[in-house]
Amino acid sequence: METIPGKADVVVIGGGPAGSTAANLLAHRGYHVVLLDQARHPRLMVGESILPHIWKYMDQLGAAEDIEKAGFIKKAGGTAIWRGVIRQMRLADFGFVRPSLHVERAEFDEILLRVAERRGVQAFEEVVVRQVHVEGSEKSVSYADRRSGQEGRITCKFIVDASGQGAVIANQLGFREFDKDLRFMSVWGYYENSAYIAHGGSICEWGKRREIRPTTVQAGIGDWGWCWHIVQKESTSVGLVLAPAQAAEFKSGGDKLEERFDRACRRIPIIGDLLQEARFIPGSVHAIRDFAYRPTQLAGDGWFLAGDAAAFVDPINSAGVVTALYTGYAAASAVDESFKKPASRAYYTEVFSTLVRQRLSLFRISALPAGQNSFPEDNALALKCAQLDSRDEQELLFAQTQLTDRPGNLAPMHAMDPRLNYTSSTRYQEVPALIPLGAELQAAG
């Protein structure tokens, strides 16, 4: 067993996509990077629908080939069933040449971690970070090694906290603020042999998933709660994102969680149809608290937050992994620049905070239940980020908000800058009705 060094240039907390990205880029630039993760990979994770934006990061991480080889399911786009209206969009229509994916996160995240190791990161799994020490010029991280039971401390110049919802630094320094506009709970599980929805509105059988690309399905279940349906290599992930009242009702059911979950999924219109021939996989149900939070601080002298450790919003726009990659990349850049120009480290910390806060605000606003923004000041922040997006990127975000019936979310930004491409899109369609499974066969036969 390799021993954990007592000293490093950078300590990265967490081996998910944000941590692996930051660690990978810094190690590749020659810094000594130690990464600590409390879990042993592969490990369970939710957030399986991934936008095609990931590829520009995969290229820089040297991970593109590994991801391609993994054979993840390529998706066509999205189907949203919201307030009785079925809408679809295809990511290829927004200029993306490379596919968006449905990934088993355990596998996807492990690939990124192993690639990071290949590029020189010293990664240690099953090591829990107890505390960070960020006062003074020398930083350090105290840990407990679950393999040996030993405790230790690594001194370093910089800490990147990518510890996910555990949010080590934000919790320790006490500045995590829960977002009252987004207080959901997610319960999810896996099915074998589920039918799925293709672009164009046809329902397809499970066996066709590599021939006819599936769409990610998001079905509203009232009160801004919703259900996801994500076809993967060997199973289909189905999840319920429940609003507070729905969560309370769900928790109060008498029988086993699994039975309640399976019954609830099968009762959802359309999702229930897709699951008609599907088998629920016993033992596959998990639940997490999906309370969104926003940190009041994203970085300080010698430390940066990335991924879910920085902020978490409702997963409605499949932006979680892309945000993790972006914030990991931004943290690596800020650390690199600070090493190169130590006199300007305060400046790079500020730049990081500003850019990340703007990007997070945009993601948050686009995901809000329509018209429920308790932080209207976020609009001005998000605007700065939106203005840097391409016309296509702006239209994509608008189309995403259209799909799940929250177009008004972007309106305040558009009012501030009418040049934003936030008013219409012809790149999504309303589908009058889905074409049932076997409809073509019946017509032909």
């Binding site: 307030r83 009785g84 209206v85 279940i221 009232g222 219109p269 359309i270 239940p369 019936d405 008004g408």
Partner: protein
């Protein structure tokens, strides 16, 4: 979900109301059960109806869509000769002026309205309004079953019923009972034909009405260069006594009802399914209250003869939006019924049209005299939809007199 105003029905009344509300800065959500485009009857606009669309900024779009332009309506008597003509005219500070309005194919027009509303940020739910949500003193929203089967509560400060003949509020027992209207024992049988003979020139897009006898008449409304909406309205008993299919009945009537109509439709090439509606005349009172109000034929429908249906839906949408905007500013917050003023105004307007139609059916000779010579300008105003009067016009008073609703006064007798 929450919205300021929930609107039941995505037809022209609902969509116009949503757009008038949007102009006042109020957010609304439309609940519509049908998949648009869908067929609908009621294709002709009054002059003031066209003005409502201009107020909504839709005039350019109406022109672009090349809807037939309507300059007036000709009403032919039983012999098919000497029609009386009521031009669409506007009224300005200097009196009446030349004006026109439109005829619309409702499947196209209604869809345009819904698209326009949605593109202006109005919320939309494809689904059916199941029932109003209520607390002890007020209506607080609508329970909806979406087209895909999810039941969702739409919580709103005001519910506007624009559901048309399905009369959502009345069905939910919020209004007083739905009473049969004056023209209830009637059936309308209608379709579209291609290639009807129109007037030459400017009036090619006009509405033609063919009168046979009391409660037995037909309409001819151009919908585009090719198609004409045609329909006959007859007493239900007469239709039943003929023992014909709707299609056979319509085809025969088109050639028997009036010689001028036969000349206008020499060959009957039907391009739409033949449809029929009966018992379409109704009236509900007390259609407003704390948290709710109804517009257009969601509370009352009189008679289709002078094409007021579409107008009332859209005009009352405008009035309802104004009343709602005032309510949001605090007006009538503590009243038992903050929308009583709106209700009274709506009733007053529809009562004027009721006078017009009653006089037409019951006193055709007196009616013709008044339209032609005695109160021509007042009649033009009423036909155009200028029926929301502070003081009754002399023409209206004359109709009331003819209908026996007021005693003759010296001024009118002498006039």
């Amino acid at each position: 979900m929450k919205t300021d105003v929930a609107i039941v029905g995505g037809g022209p009344g609902g969509t116009a109301c949503a757009m008038f509300l949007e102009q006042a800065g109020i957010r609304s959500t439309i609940i519509e059960k049908a998949q648009f485009p869908r067929y609908h009857i009621g294709e002709s606009m009054t002059g003031e109806c066209g003005n409502c669309l201009r107020t909504l900024g839709l005039a350019d779009e109406m022109v672009r869509r090349a809807h037939p332009v309507k300059w007036g309506v000709s009403v032919y008597g039983p012999g098919g000769k000497n029609p009386f003509y009521v031009p669409v005219k506007g009224r300005g500070p200097d009196g009446l002026f030349e004006a026109s309005t439109w005829q619309v194919r409702r499947s196209d027009f209604d869809r345009m309205m819904l698209d326009a509303a949605r593109s202006r940020g109005v919320g939309f739910i494809h689904g059916e309004a199941v029932e109003p949500l209520r607390d002890a003193e007020s209506v607080t929203g609508v329970r909806v079953r979406t087209a895909t089967g999810v039941v969702e509560d739409v919580v709103s400060s005001v519910v506007i019923d624009a559901s048309g003949p399905s009369t959502f509020l009345s069905r939910s027992n919020l209004t007083s009972r739905k009473e049969r209207g004056n023209y209830d024992n009637q059936v309308a049988i209608f379709s579209q034909v291609s290639g009807g003979v129109r007037d030459a020139g400017k009036t090619a897009g006009d509405t033609l009405i063919f009168y046979q006898k009391k409660h037995h008449w037909a309409w001819f409304i151009p919908l585009d260069d090719e198609s004409v909406s045609i329909g006959v309205v007859v007493p239900t008993e007469y239709f039943a006594s003929r023992k014909e299919s709707k299609r056979d009945f319509l085809v025969r009537e088109l050639h028997e009802l009036n010689p001028e109509l036969k000349r206008r439709v020499p060959e009957i090439r039907l391009t739409e399914e033949v449809r029929a509606i009966s018992n379409y005349s109704y009236d509900t009172r007390h259609f407003t209250g704390k948290g709710y109000l109804a517009i257009g034929d969601s509370h009352r429908f009189i008679d289709p003869v002078f094409s007021f249906g579409l107008y009332f839906s859209i005009k009352e949408a405008e009035h309802a939006a104004a009343a709602t905007a005032a309510y949001f500013k605090g007006l009538g917050r503590d009243d038992d019924n903050p929308f009583l003023g709106y209700e009274q105004r709506s009733n007053a307007g529809m009562d004027v049209v009721q006078e017009l139609i009653d006089a037409f059916w019951n006193q055709p000779v007196a009616f013709a005299v008044m339209v032609h010579s005695r109160y021509t300008e007042d009649c033009i105003d009423m036909f155009a939809g200028r029926v929301y009067m502070d003081e009754p016009s002399p023409g209206l008073l004359a109709f009331r007199k003819v209908n026996g609703r007021i005693a003759p006064s010296p001024a009118i007798v002498g006039g």
